[in-house]
């Protein structure tokens, strides 16, 4: 039995993405977000999650993806506090599909050399999907969410 790793599969726009299950605390339904004045563009606002103020980041804006029209299934993935140096952070995704177990042979690491604005944030490409299933042949981009968030912190800090 080949070694496998669990990831949470989610959707942004038409693309499927994945993040490490260790950094996800829970997933909640989209709820009204209170925007903060003079906040940066990617910070959608704050919510009250069971008494805790949680910052909500719009990952799309952060990744430079176009605004999506599908909003009905939007959810908030609340991350573990240690991801953002102890502060509560949640990211908005268009949908959360499932927790999937990915075998090592399904993971394709990509080199850093490829020029892409997000290349630094992509850990690998997961090829799940059976050979004959056209839909599930799609690739899943495995994001390094922690790096994205910590880069924000750097950015904030540099600011």
């Amino acid at each position: 039995m080949a070694a496998s790793v669990d990831v949470v599969e989610f959707q942004l726009g038409e693309e499927h993405y994945a993040l490490d299950i260790q950094i996800a605390r829970e997933i909640v339904e989209m709820m009204p977000i209170t925007p903060l004045p003079r906040a940066p563009e990617y910070l959608a606002g704050i919510i009250n999650l069971r008494g805790e103020i949680t910052n909500i980041i719009d990952l799309r804006d952060l990744l430079g993806l176009p605004e999506s029209e599908k909003i009905e299934n939007r959810k908030i993935v609340v991350l573990m506090p240690d991801v953002a140096n102890g502060s509560n952070v949640g990211i908005i995704v268009d949908d959360v599909h499932s927790v999937i177990s990915v075998r090592n042979d399904q993971i394709e690491r990509i080199s850093d050399g490829i020029t892409s604005s997000i290349s630094g944030y992509v850990k690998a490409i997961i090829k799940i999907g059976k050979e004959d299933d056209e839909k599930s042949k799609a690739l899943i981009i495995w994001l390094d969410v922690q790096k994205v968030i910590s880069d924000l912190g750097c950015y904030q800090n540099t600011q």
Partner: protein
């Protein structure tokens, strides 16, 4: 047949000399064998067998005597038989001769009709040689007809039969009387048939001829009878004693004597007043045709008759009767006599007339010269007595008249002059009248033409009116039809409106039901949304559980599987709810569409009902209008009829007027013609009066010539 050789031998036997010798030998024989031998000889046919009594013992003598007697008797019997046989032979020969020499044709045939004997007469008659007739069968002869009994009957009934047959033989067709006589043998069976013929061909032919002649004679007799009976001239036939035998219809009609009585009369019974020419007695005496004239008294009156006596003689030129033919000339004679009398009288009268006429002639000659003083003497008995006295009177009258005439002529002369003048005036006036009437006639003709034009116009008008009447009649029919149809349509429209209302109600109900359905759908949708929500939450919970399980590492592996399953279920629920939601959305969309169309149809129905009502109203209005129109047309029809009547009246009046105008025109024309005639007449009168004046003068001069005193 009878002369068979066997029989001859039987009788010639005893003549043989041997037998006598045999008998003599027997005599020498011993007793009683002598008797026995004699008996044997007798039985054997020896006639001369006899017992010599001398050689017989006493005791056998009576027997021998008896035997001798018997033998003797037998001998006699035999001789008698022989004699009879001779006779029979003679008879046979005779009968043969009878047949052969018979002048009648004779045949003998056997029962099979085969000819066994024939005589020469038959051969001559038939034209078949004798040897050929023999052996021929009667059936081979051609018999064209047969009357009476045939030969077959002769065989069957064994009696003589008679028939008349027509048979075709080589010598020609013969009519024969046929007598068939059956000849019987000893057993009474028919041995052969003797047939005797009698040729009656010529007899029959002559009979036919006589019959034809008789008929011819009968015809001639009938003809002569008819000639006499139907003759229009009276005719009588008398015998030599002057007794009347027959008289024809014309005679009976002339004399008035009954037919039954006439035959009892003689010529002497008639009363003859006068006779000229030869009498009937001369016919008796000289047997020549005579003619004369007699005056006879008949019951119907006295007649003068031309009488012709024609002697009727038989073949020996003996007088058998006289045919008297009469011609009634009574009327003719009477007329002749009258004419003679008249001629005599006329002659005497003529002589007297000549004398008288001479006297008158002298007087007239004087008068012709203008001497009006010559009077004539009229004596009694003068045939011209009246003429003469008339002449004298006339002369007197003429004298008086001439005096008057002279006087009158003078007067005429004066008057005619005046008349001449007046007539000239009249001529002028009548000419004017003629011209005026001509003018009036022309005016009247023009008037007539105008009237006729008006008549034509009125005729046209009448035709138009009739056309209008018929058209308005048609329009009226159409209108009433339209009215009826409008009523029907209105009724139909009302039915349609009712149905529309029903449809409206139904559609309203449907709309209501659809909105109820919509509400329920919405509720279902809400429930489905709730289910979807729950599914979402379940999904989320499952995800979170999966995350928790993953974080738990190996210990949470089993939980992760459960969480995955729950998540799957939640996903399915969500998909199902999604499907339901889609379905409901579709249904809602269609129900909404249905509702929309229902509402549209509802509106349409409303509009339809309104239209139908409008149509009904319109139809009712049309019906009302049509009724008004009908009424109007009825009025028009009535008015047109009145108009037609009036026009007809006008026409009639026009006709009358035309007629009157025509009459007037005719009259005027007549008048014009009359005026012209009058004018012409007047002119004639004028010229006549001028002439008259001239003539009056001439008359005066002429009158001077007469010597009156």
């Amino acid at each position: 047949m009878i002369d068979k050789p066997g029989r001859k031998a039987l009788f010639t036997g005893p003549i043989a000399p041997g037998t006598t010798g045999q008998a003599q030998e027997q005599r020498a024989m011993v007793l009683p064998e002598a008797i026995e031998a004699a008996l044997h000889a007798g039985i054997g046919g020896d006639d001369s067998a006899k017992i010599d009594l001398a050689g017989i013992p006493e005791e056998y003598r009576p027997l021998a005597t008896s035997i001798n007697a018997l033998l003797e008797k037998k001998k006699e019997e035999k001789q008698r038989l022989r004699h009879r046989l001779e006779e029979a032979k003679m008879l046979l020969k005779g009968s043969d001769t009878i047949i052969q020499q018979n002048p009648m044709p004779i045949l003998v045939v056997d029962p099979e009709f085969k000819v066994t004997m024939v005589n020469t007469t038959y051969a001559e008659m038939s034209g078949i040689p004798m040897d050929q007739v023999l052996g021929r069968n009667l059936r081979d002869f051609k018999i064209t007809s047969q009357k009476g009994s045939g030969l077959r009957q002769a065989i069957q009934e064994k009696r003589r039969v008679y028939a008349e047959v027509v048979v075709e033989l080589p010598s020609g067709t013969h009519i024969l009387e046929q007598y068939g006589i059956p000849l019987l043998d000893n057993e009474n069976a028919v041995e052969s048939i003797l047939i005797v013929y009698n040729d009656i061909t010529e007899q029959r032919e002559s009979e036919e001829e006589i019959k034809a002649q008789m008929e011819n004679i009968g015809e001639l007799q009938r003809q002569s009878d008819t000639i006499i009976q139907q003759n229009p001239m009276p005719m009588l036939v008398v015998d030599t004693a002057m007794k009347i035998l027959t008289a024809n219809e014309a005679y009976l009609k002339l004399t008035g004597i009954d037919r039954s009585r006439i035959t009892t009369m003689t010529l002497r019974d008639f009363k003859v007043h006068n006779q000229k020419g030869d009498g009937i007695k001369k016919v008796l005496a000289e047997k020549v045709r005579v003619s004369g004239e007699v005056t006879v008294e008949f019951p119907s009156g006295v007649y003068i008759l031309e009488q012709y006596g024609i002697p009727l003689t038989n073949e020996k030129n003996e007088l058998t009767g006289i045919l008297n033919v009469y011609n009634d000339i009574t009327e003719k004679r009477k007329e002749e006599e009258q004419i003679r009398d008249l001629m005599e009288t006329a002659k005497q009268e003529g002589e007297r007339l000549a004398k008288s006429a001479e006297e008158l002639g002298t007087a007239l000659a004087a008068m012709a010269k203008g001497d009006l003083t010559a009077f004539v003497n009229a004596e009694n008995g003068d045939p011209l007595d009246r003429v003469k006295s008339d002449y004298n009177l006339s002369l007197t009258a003429i004298r008086t008249l001439l005096a008057d005439v002279t006087k009158a002529a003078h007067q005429v002369e004066i008057t005619t002059k005046e008349v001449s003048k007046s007539t000239d005036e009249i001529i002028r006036a009548t000419e004017q009248v003629a011209a005026s009437t001509q003018q009036s006639s022309e005016d009247a003709r023009r008037q007539l033409e105008k009237i006729e034009e008006i008549g034509t116009d009125i005729n046209d008008l009448s035709a138009s009116i009739e056309e209008i009447a018929s058209t308005s009649q048609e329009v009226m029919e159409q209108a009433s039809k339209a009215s009826k149809e409008g009523n029907d349509a209105a009724a139909l429209g009302e039915v349609a409106a009712k149905k529309m209302q029903l449809v409206e109600e139904i559609s309203k109900q449907t709309v209501d039901e659809i909105s109820v359905l919509n509400n329920q759908m919405r509720e279902i949708n809400n429930i489905v949304k709730l289910i979807a929500d729950i599914a979402n939450q379940t999904n989320l919970l499952a995800l979170n559980a999966a995350i928790e399980a993953a974080r738990a590492g190996e210990h949470g592996r089993g939980f992760a599987v459960v969480a995955g399953e729950i998540r799957n279920l939640a996903g399915e629920s969500k998909r199902a709810s999604q499907d339901i939601e889609d379905l409901i959305r579709t249904i809602q969309a269609s129900t909404e569409k249905t509702t929309g169309s229902m509402q549209a149809s509802h509106q349409e129905i409303q509009a339809g009902i309104e239209s139908v009502n409008k149509v009904i109203n319109g139809l009712n209005r049309i019906v009302n209008s049509v009724e008004v129109v009908t009424h109007g047309i009825t009025e028009i029809t009535k008015a047109t009829e009145d108009q037609a009547g009036s026009t007809n009246n006008v026409m009639q009046k026009m006709d009358e007027s035309t007629h009157m105008t025509k009459e007037s025109l005719d009259r005027t024309e007549d008048m014009a013609a009359l005026a012209e005639e009058v004018s012409a007449s007047t002119e004639e009168v004028g010229s006549a009066s001028h002439e008259l004046a001239t003539m009056a003068e001439q008359l005066k001069k002429a009158m001077m010539q007469f010597k009156l005193n």
